[in-house]
């Protein structure tokens, strides 16, 4: 026991000496940005894409100039486990403990909504790259998002169906029990009938999550004489619906939404989905300029094509950095600086993102163009056109 105590005292003394020797890094000249992302849990791919994108950004631009002064960028990645409670804890920790200037994420609405409340209460700018729930940014001046919302995507699809597919009558088939498809189906219907008059959506067919047989709905759609079918469903359900349509002898176009682009659509659907269109955030195949550079670099670094999350995270980060630059200089008082960054974010005009130009509305949602892609014969999602809200 005595030896142990002596050892402990010596050890502590040594530790003290070492401590004084350790010099604190020049903390004043770093800018910290926090990432509240799901690195473990149900959806680790989402977190991995976000982290990959951010690390690539940091390699490329480790320093930024703000108001003539150079700062080192530091990213702090924290894991929210794809859980609401953890997202709230992580946001609180990033703000109060790490003292970040701004937060990127959470990605999914189920975490972004409660975490947005935290960010807004602590007056810290937060951008969720991927969350589509309106409540994330609603009445929260400090919270922004990097993607368009469903009330915008619905009209985009309606306009595209009208202009490019010359549709006069449309049909919709959607899952009534899932939030995203149901919402989008209703927005599409409203927008399409806004263009072609009431009754122009001739079939509005619903099913319930997990259904495998769509022949009844398809029969109604065939009878209705629609020129196009809108299918705002997830990649796992799309192949079943498309095959059901083909069996009924449907030869007209099928139009999808951004949920087609996540996951392994082509692996499940194969040749059946080729030639159809869907609206999404950006197109990987046939991209140009900055977008192409991003895709090539990401593919070279990580050996896979970047998904929507990676691209939107890149843009959210770009927005945050741009806003920090636009403040014209940081005072060093973190609270005042956060508000400055928020104001700069809100007033950004036409930010040239790789997923399109962005300008924020008063709610903190971006006004941005959607991309419509065509699934080409090689099974790639090829850029077809960019659709902007009318």
């Amino acid at each position: 026991m005595r030896k142990f105590s002596v050892g402990l005292v010596l050890f502590l003394a040594a530790a003290m000496v070492f401590t004084f020797a350790a010099i604190d890094a020049d903390a004043a000249d770093t800018i910290k940005i926090g990432f509240n992302i799901p690195l473990t849990g149900d959806n680790p791919d989402v977190g991995a894409s976000s982290k990959n994108s951010a690390e690539m950004y940091l390699k490329k631009k480790p320093k930024i100039e703000v108001g003539g002064k150079s700062y080192d960028l530091t990213f702090i990645f924290d894991d929210n486990e794809y859980k609401a409670e953890s997202a709230v804890k992580v946001s609180t920790k990033l703000i109060t403990e790490e003292g970040v200037l701004g937060i990127i994420g959470p990605q999914s609405s189920s975490q972004a909504v409660p975490a947005g409340d935290v960010a807004n209460n602590y007056a810290t700018p937060m951008i969720s790259p991927w969350s589509t729930n309106p409540n994330t940014t609603l009445d929260r001046p400090y919270v922004f998002r990097g993607c368009f919302l469903d009330p915008f995507q619905g009209p985009v699809s309606a306009n595209f169906a009208t202009d490019e597919l010359s549709a006069k009558k449309a049909a919709v088939i959607y899952d009534i029990a899932a939030d995203y498809p149901k919402g989008l189906a209703e927005f599409f219907k409203a927008a399409f009938e806004g263009i072609h008059g009431p009754g122009s959506v001739v079939a509005f067919e619903s099913f319930t999550t997990g259904d495998k047989d769509f022949s009844a709905q398809m029969t109604n759609i065939m009878m209705s004489g629609a020129d196009v079918v809108f299918v705002p469903q997830y990649y796992s359900e799309v192949p079943l619906i498309v095959r059901a349509a083909k069996e009924m002898g449907w030869t007209k176009p099928i139009l999808g939404s951004d949920s087609w682009g996540s996951g392994d659509l082509m692996g499940l659907c194969g040749d059946d989905c080729k030639g159809y269109y869907f609206s999404t955030h950006y197109a990987a195949a046939g991209a140009k300029g900055e977008t192409k550079a991003f895709i090539d670099e990401y593919t070279a670094t990580y050996g896979k094509t970047p998904d929507d999350v990676a691209a939107l995270t890149w843009d959210a980060l770009g927005l945050m950095i741009q806003a920090i630059k636009n403040t014209g200089g940081l005072s060093g008082d973190i609270k005042a600086d956060r508000t400055k960054v928020k104001d700069a974010l809100a007033s950004i005009q036409n930010f040239p993102g790789i997923t399109g130009g962005m300008t924020f509305t008063a709610d903190g949602d971006p006004k941005k163009c959607a991309v419509v892609v065509k699934i080409n014969d090689a099974g790639q999602f090829e850029f077809f056109k960019s659709v902007c809200p009318k």
Binding site: M1, F11, L12, A15, M16, F18, T19, F20, A21, A22, I23, D24, A25, A27, L39, T40, G41, D42, P44, D78, D79, K83, A84, E85, V88, K89, V90, T92, K93, I95, T96, E97, G99, S109, S110, V113, P114, D117, Y122, N133, N135, A177, A178, D179, K182
Partner: protein, 447 residues
Amino acid sequence: MDQTATLHPTEGMFLRIGHFFKPVPLMGYLAGFLVCVLWEQMAGDGLSAILGLPKMPVLFGILTIFKVVAGVVNLLIKGDAFDWATLVQIPTALVYLTVIYLVPLTLVCRLSVKPANALARFLQGFPLIVTALVQLGLMYAVLHIWAGVSDYRLITLKLTLIAVLFTLSLNIINGYMGEFSCSHPGFMAIGAYMTSLFTVGLFTSDKVLGDAVFSVGAAYLSFPLALIFGGIMAALGALIVAIPSFKTRGDYLAIISLAFLFIVKSFFENMQSLGGSRGIGGQPNWATLPVIFITVAFGVWTINNFVTSTMGKALNAVRDDETAAEAMTVDTRKTKMAAFLFGAFWAGVAGGLLAHVLRYVNPAMFSVQKLAEVLAMVYFGGLNSVYGSIVGAVSISLLGEALRPLEILKWIVIPLLLILVMVYRPTGLIAFKEFDVRQVFGPKEVD
């Protein structure tokens, strides 16, 4: 106790530590912690600065240490850059822990043995409620000062307290009753939604549930009512599971209750009037630390009373041998029902608190993941014991926070710990231990 000579040296040390703290009553520990948190409030920042720590350690320095460990791990696995200067934070965090917590706690505990015991003995002359309230008040003061230092501590503490209540409510069914029920997150969901329905629907305006029905300044006074409403609705939900499933036992009950969990989740996903899968947000900020502390303390007290009552004994009889219990005139069906509904009630209350801490609730929060978490807490802490549930919930919550920097490795470390506990202590860390309130709050008499 003359075995010390033959013992392994470390065991001897533990024994000595045990001896050292043996005469300290709860009052003494509370006094010790009170001194610690006050000392930290005064000297914590200064000491961190002297030690060269980037910020005051939040969770006793554990988080600081694991952050550095995570850096080393990432260096070894992925070859990420690692700043060797941060290695020094491991010893300094330990120094901080020693100086701020260990030393004052030890000193105060030992020095206050006599007065603390005297005070406890004096308070014992009054009804139990007096001494309980005094010591709970002290406990709250400690927590309040401790959490006042940082908001991250506050949110962690709030969620940990809620986890304690939730774990304990499941322990009634899985520990005391000896069944394996999987429907608990479902009850929590019902409680969370119904409490939110009460508060958001009646007192706040939002898009999902429409305008406020009442606008009263003192609306927060209705929060206990809201929690009770949530608890009762959860108990009603439990009734729906209990009626068909209590004809079965063991695995079948587990499967039925798991099905119920999915039914509840789907129900809330399909209820458009409750926001569907988008959930309900904008709950008023009524779940403050005192409210949570009082609710959890009250919950622990009633659950402890329940399991130590005749009903609790009957419950244990049912667990050990249902047929024998029936033969000994125990009304097994009634006993099981009461325990199940009681457990569900407190799970509902815990859900109500959770909804108002996060100020958002959606069906995805109450999935199988939540179930795995609470089961881990129950079995890690110990079956059939109030102590065990508190220990399990607190340790898993703190571990989860401390190991967060390790990312995916966290999910290797925590399950490994669980496996080790299951191997060496199959019923959990502190199982089958009676929790006698009078003894806990009373003085420690040492011969």
